[in-house]
Amino acid sequence: MALTRDKLMDYLNRKLGIDVSEIDDDTLLYSSGMADSFSMVDMLIFIESEAGFKLDPTDVTLDNLDSVGRILNFVNARNGGQSA
């Protein structure tokens, strides 16, 4: 399984109410205030269920998840290492 951009965008729109037509891969989601940090745990659950592996929680920081590009990089880096 892999986390795709489409699924991530759908999640951002559906669960966080973000208008995804306005954001690109580099738009800061949490530190800009577009997404609130409260929803981060839900985001982690979503990523884990889509990517099909557990994240090491002591490894996850806001910086890792602050944009669409960073989330995909973060997940793919770990996915490559674990299930390639």
Binding site: N13, R14, K15, L16, G17, D19, E22, I23, T27, L28, Y30, S31, S32, G33, M34, D36, S37, F38, S39, M40, V41, P57, T58, D59, V60, T61, L62, D63, D66
Partner: protein, 547 residues
């Protein structure tokens, strides 16, 4: 060290005595930190108070709808200085809550930042959010400006009254840094909290109480100017606000961080040598779950205390808590927006009374009363009544006040406060005077420290075109945390999916109020008397939220 005094003059005094000392540090992306000195913060406070004096009617409520920053703090103190009433709104509020706040406060002007403006834009098409057009929005743009927010500002300039907050030219007279003449009984602050009527309620706090509760906390946590406090709670929450007030009263450093991720908290605490953290149970639960731990012998050796505020932890986790931060003092606190910090458990009492929320806080009288209003015997469960420090002056909409704030039934020479808050919380006091909480008799839930009435969510569900009937229930998991499940049945001919309803709710509600599941039902289950069958709904909810 002074342990008393008015909050704004003290801030200016710190600015004179220790101008270069860092007052506020903000954690930025990439692990960078932006520091604001006491001198710079005091200068900004003067700018805001001058602006408020020039543009607003005396005593007006100033909604502040923005994330935590040095500017946000300067606006709060500016309002205190100019004699206005600041109202920090939860940054998670959406259009319907903002509209309700603006209507209730009758605000002519409000402060907003880029993200806030984006939210306002999304609510413009909703007729129920008409009130967002009412005030003049003073926009504080970040530095450097974010293109996305600039675009939103341009698009909105035709529909909303937006004024860029620019620093006035230097020749403009600065305002006197003295609020001595202000009446201590006038409101200083209005905090909006979830209400059973389905809309947020404004809780008014007097200038004197804001000041006294600050000094009471300074004393309890033994704060000094060498402390560095980590602010992870919003200023719209009384615990987060009081932490801000104590930091600036004592002249120490406050570190602003928005992330609740364990790795970020550990990192920030080490990088800034944090000594105290005020937290809600879910923050510590997350850390315990992932087996995060403060290295109190090494990089976290500055950490002196943590608090468990705004809710309780189950017994098992209470026992694990000392292992999270070995040697660190743990304060448990209990209170409400309407009755700030009724009780607190001191660290030395944690080993013997960890299940208790402690004894009455400084200046507070606590009672437990039975249904006929008589004091309960030790161990007998009744409603918790609070008089003294921390009691609100009333709700903004006065009709609700009479139920919550009543003549103090224990008014006497020993308790000379004429009014007491009937908290709606149930509990008992043991033989040693320690308070134990035992739930509520209404529908209020605590979700990650936020108070939530399911009625607020039901109201927004019913506002979605096509939804005919709606109910919301909360289900508690093993760790004591509540999760929301929403049920909706559709109007004839309406075609809405569960995902579409979730999307609509995400735009209308703060994220902590967003139900974990939305379930469409052909028909609402009813009891024999025709009321929604809550037991049946709870059973459905338990099966559907996968606890």
């Amino acid at each position: 060290m002074r342990r008393e005094g008015r909050l704004v003059p003290l801030l200016h005094e710190h600015a004179r005595r220790q101008p270069a000392r860092t007052a506020v540090t903000q954690r930025l992306p990439g692990g960078r930190y932006l520091e604001t000195s006491y001198a710079e913060l005091a200068r900004k406070v003067n700018l805001f108070s001058g602006l408020f004096r020039r543009r607003l009617r005396p005593g007006a409520i100033i909604p502040i709808y923005m994330g935590k920053s040095a500017d946000c703090i300067a606006a709060i103190y500016g309002a205190l200085e100019s004699g206005h009433v600041f109202s920090c709104l939860n940054p998670k509020f959406r259009g319907p809550q903002i509209s309700a706040v603006l209507q209730a406060s009758n605000a002519d002007a409000a402060l907003v930042d880029g993200p806030g403006l984006m939210t306002l834009r999304n609510s413009l098409s909703d007729p129920a959010c008409e009130a967002v057009r009412q005030p003049e929005w003073l926009l504080l743009q970040g530095d450097p400006p974010v293109p996305l927010f600039e675009k939103a500002t341009r698009e909105l300039s035709g529909s909303l009254k937006i004024r860029h907050f620019n620093e006035p030219p230097a020749e403009e007279p600065s305002t006197a840094a003295d609020d001595r003449h202000e009446d201590a009984h006038l409101p200083a602050c209005c905090l909006f909290t979830s209400g059973s009527t389905g809309t947020p309620k404004g809780v008014l706090i007097s200038r004197r109480d804001l000041e006294n509760r600050t000094w009471a906390e300074v004393e309890w946590f033994e704060l000094g100017s060498e402390d560095v406090l980590l602010s992870i709670l919003p200023f719209s929450f009384d615990v987060g606000l009081n932490q801000l007030m104590t930091a600036l009263a004592i002249g120490c450093e406050l570190v602003l961080a928005d992330s609740w991720l364990p790795a970020d908290i550990l990192d920030t605490a080490a990088a800034r040598r944090v000594s105290g953290i005020s937290g809600v149970p879910s923050i510590w639960q997350d850390m315990l779950r992932v087996q995060a731990r403060f290295d109190t012998a090494g990089k976290h050796k500055s950490l002196r205390y943590i608090t468990v505020s705004g809710g309780s932890l189950p017994s098992r986790q209470l026992l694990e808590l000392p292992g999270l931060a070995p040697g660190v003092a743990i304060f448990k606190t209990y209170g409400q927006t309407e009755a700030f910090r009724a009780a607190s458990l001191r660290p030395s009492e944690f080993s013997t009374k960890s299940e208790s929320v402690g004894r009455a806080f400084t200046g507070v009288r606590l009672y437990v009363v039975n249904e006929s209003g008589r004091p309960c015997a030790p161990g007998e469960i009744g409603e918790i009544v609070h008089s003294g420090l921390g009691v609100m002056t009333g709700y903004l909409q006065s009709a609700d006040t009479a139920l919550k704030l009543r003549p103090n039934p224990f008014f006497s020479a020993a308790d000379s406060h004429p009014l007491a808050v009937f908290t709606g919380d149930y509990g008992c006091i043991d033989d040693d005077g320690y308070l134990f909480l035992r739930g509520r008799h209404d529908t209020m839930l605590k979700i990650s420290g936020n108070r939530v009435y399911p009625e607020e969510i039901t109201r927004q569900l019913l506002a979605i075109p096509g939804v005919a009937m709606a109910e919301v229930v909360g289900v508690r998991d093993d760790s004591g945390e509540s999760h929301l499940a929403a049920f909706a049945s559709l109007a004839k001919g309406a075609a809405l999916s569960e995902a579409e309803i979730q999307r609509s709710l995400a735009a209308r509600l703060p994220s902590y109020m967003a139900p974990r599941r939305v379930l469409l039902l052909e028909e609402m289950p009813r009891t024999a008397s025709g009321k929604p069958d809550k037991q049946e709904l709870l059973a459905l909810a338990r099966r559907s939220v996968n606890l």
